[in-house]
Symmetry: D2
Subunit: 314 residues, 4 copies
């Protein structure tokens, strides 16, 4: 037991380091999974955990965790999105062959960072240094990432844990600027009777995504979300990914002068994936706090992010 | 028992109708699920079937069923695909904020029909009439399908059945033009000890997709695949979707003068989804003939098809 | 002089044919310039006419005839337009080389038919038959027109004639639905003291384009413009191109039940180019009724139309 | 005559300054045309010069100075270009209206920096400082340049001067790495009997662009072109623009360790436009050393560069 105030302070900071996990202590540019690792916390997924997660399926109900993406989806400039439907080669003809086959084809043109998102480990870093010490100048080629691309992400199959922050705070839509840190996370987990374990994928329900189409301006200006301390806490738990029904997961306005520090802590420093604009309302309404989470992100070579629609099954 | 030759012929044709299912008998423009239905055979998915499928997870192994999509993926003209990586607003700066946040963003420009595909029910029809009698002129708006869009497809969670045609035919790559009809399907199912049931998703393994990067010309010129009779057979079984590790599922050269008739039978006439370029090799190597199949296609509003990465879990 | 009523009728119809030009009489699918011709009325441009046009430069004043094109330019669905500025490879660096070169690059994504336009001879036809009998199915390949592409258009250098319809009608903006036919054209030409001759490029000034940014809805819903009879009249004069400061040149609402018939008469039947959204206001203010017109449309292979900025010099 | 060594040195440096023009002496970030100027050397164009240029039209011959741009045009990664032809809304119909109007429409997707180019004054700078001291961070918005955009460029109408370097060097294609500096420029001008004057647009003919389609690799790896000293010389002459039938105008390999220094001297330091991939062969064959040069670059708001087709008339 420490005798002096300063010793006590030192002890306290060491204790905090224990709780906060690697993000505060080691050289984050060196992944615990070795210098060639590109998949980060997906390494926590094991066959045992997959089997256990499948056993969470008890009522056979499925949920889209993806929202719709289209040209009206709020997006940050200069991002935009557009789809065009065409019928190549069919102008004026009844169709191909005696069976008159006709078809519609589609062309997409848009920034990937719109709608429900998987942020890959090459998305955000610290002064151009990304997960596992990879430097942007080395891997972020204009025609596609040479490392950390979305095609590298293994199937994300895990126990999903929903933390219903809205219910906890007695509201439909949690206020912008509300930060979720250790205390909030632990309170909700306890109330809901769930633990957060290594290999989990944790999703926050805040109600925020319901603002789309009603108040796009408010939706995009700020959000409730994960705070810096909460990010370190979850990293210490060894989660695979963290998501929310918000555009950016982390609380805005930011808690301090730092900008997107939670993204840095999760993606760059801990190789933990981020899931944005998750459609958590239906799960929350069903009190589906534990479920089988399955995501196969479209394997576009060299992509930084992906437009996704993970499935929850319980 | 029929006495005469003509009676025998009549009996035989009636029997065939029974086997072949609705495709040969009713007015296909009227869906059995009613005039407003947009999801077709996905209606076969029930909570019971989902729970049973989850119980197929016995070893905890997961598989990407998606191949990579990029500018080199073989595609039919005029289709093309491109991704561009940018760093908006970071020219010449160390990063945003005191924590120097930097990030990569991506822009996609390309036809959706490249790589691993989900063909939606609005993709292909007969003389501009699509699933459930929907007319192209009514729903295929240039800015997005007004009906049958990919965003309407529910989570495709089902018992997956793999039919390893390559192993059955004693080859690594089944020859182009080899048709899979009732006899072939039943032989393989029997040999593998699996049944095909209502609500299943059936995938053929042929080895064809392994030609990508080795012989793109051969890969795209033809393929082994489902024949017209086999399509009707599977439709009669009430499957939700049929796929293969080929670019187009159905056998090419076509069996007769008709063009993409299997697509018409599955998509338009029976509301059965098609999965193309499925990465079945690993499942086949593990003899994973039954598995939990999970697909959340990215919910791009009004899309005709989707670039997908379904996950198989066993 | 004809003696009988029927002879009189015959005479009248022949007379009308003379006035109306080829559009009413011959088989329009056979160009007067032969079966292989792809440039239509540009054939009227001769060195003599070019020299005469250059001699019209008397005060040395130049004019942009192009308006700006951007994402806010009114356009007909599904058309859209977007430009993105990027700084490839410069994230975090002071520049390339000891002299620290840095640069901006741009990417365009959009429909060509937005802003100031040159309609090529492959743009519009009659039941999929285009200029000189070319069938869409033969030349309109999805990756670019195989004939009649914009890259085939020779330099359009000619005597430009401005007809100030707005001044003639005593208004700033001519009302939508106002048709310019032979009488109107001849009255204005006479008042302005200009002739319309073979090889000319004729532009109408109506004031309509000034509605952009003020009343986009009105701007796009209709317009004053060339009528069917007026189109035949100008075709009979042997003009190279006709344009206006409107989005579509021809009067809307249409004069009859026909749809874009003026486009058919000019482009398909006579190989006469159409110029849309011409910025004629400054020329009109200066009473620049005759000028040297110069257009080099960007030579994008296989393009149907081009975004242009012709220059008037007087 | 200077008496001392230091005086001699001072004299020599002043003399060099005279020869080299402003680029070596003043603060280049302050344009001679004032702090708000965005058009640089286009300010040299006057009505008198326009009239004189028009008088150069003596035989009535016109020339495309633009080459074709398409998906096969050599381009530097990640640049790419694509056009798609569509027939919106016409699947299965004979056409619109009783007159059966049908039409082709086109969509462009591509980097602007491909094919014949106008480099605007916002294209290249020194450590993110561009023409007239404009800082990239201030004006280079991702949705379009806020200053120095192509839409600001006035009609470029001037006396064009062709310097046939290939003929001068007795070759069809001038070798890569051959630098054109003051001596070379003056020798050719003298041999051809032309002067270079303020307000001119100077084009070099080297034969290099004829390599496209024959040896794309060689074409893109290097080029003959303007050297640093030559650039300063031309700047001192007060030219409006300099171009060549090469992809980058300046000599490659570079003369020293500096990278694209000629671009910096012309664009950033002197507001002189650069024209790339000019199709000079026909003019050279006709010995068209003086001509009327006319360029209306498509006025895409905020563009950095433009795909162009200037017209030469003589």
């Amino acid at each position: 037991m420490p005798r002096t105030a300063s010793a006590l302070a030192l002890f306290a900071s060491l204790a905090l380091t224990q709780l906060a996990g690697p993000a505060a202590a080691q050289d984050w540019t060196k992944s615990k999974w070795g210098p060639n690792d590109e998949i980060g916390a997906a390494n926590y997924i094991t066959p045992e955990l997959v089997m256990k997660a499948a056993q969470l399926v008890k009522v056979g109900k499925t949920y889209h965790l993806g929202i719709e993406t289209n040209s009206k989806t709020p997006a940050f400039p200069p991002r935009s999105f557009k789809i065009t439907i065409v019928q190549p080669g069919q102008a004026g003809i009844p169709g191909l062959g005696p069976n008159k086959t006709t078809y519609n084809d589609d062309i997409i043109d848009g920034w990937v960072g719109i709608g429900s998102q998987l942020d890959g480990l090459g998305h955000l870093g610290v002064e151009y240094v990304y997960y596992n010490g990879n430097k942007g100048a080395d891997f972020a080629d204009a025609t596609g990432l040479k490392k950390l691309g979305i095609e590298k992400v293994p199937p994300l199959v895990a126990r999903g844990v929903l933390l219903d922050m809205a219910a906890h705070l007695g509201t439909d839509v949690v206020k912008e600027g509300t930060a979720f840190n250790t205390k909030e996370i632990e309170d909700v987990a306890k109330k809901q009777g769930v633990e957060i374990r290594q290999g989990d994928i944790v999703l926050f329900h805040t109600g925020w995504v319901s603002l789309i189409g009603k108040d796009d301006k408010r939706y995009g200006a700020a959000e409730p979300g994960l705070g810096v301390e909460g990010a370190k806490y979850l990293a210490g738990k060894g989660v695979v990914a963290v998501g929310a029904d918000t555009w950016g997961l982390e609380v805005l306005p930011f808690e301090t002068k730092t900008v997107f520090e939670v993204h840095q802590i999760l993606l760059a420093m801990n190789g933990i994936y981020i899931l944005e604009n998750m459609n958590t309302a239906a799960l929350a309404a069903d009190k589906g706090y534990e479920f089988l989470f399955v995501l196969g992100a479209p394997r576009i070579t060299g992509a930084v992010q992906a437009i996704i629609n993970p499935i929850a099954i319980r």
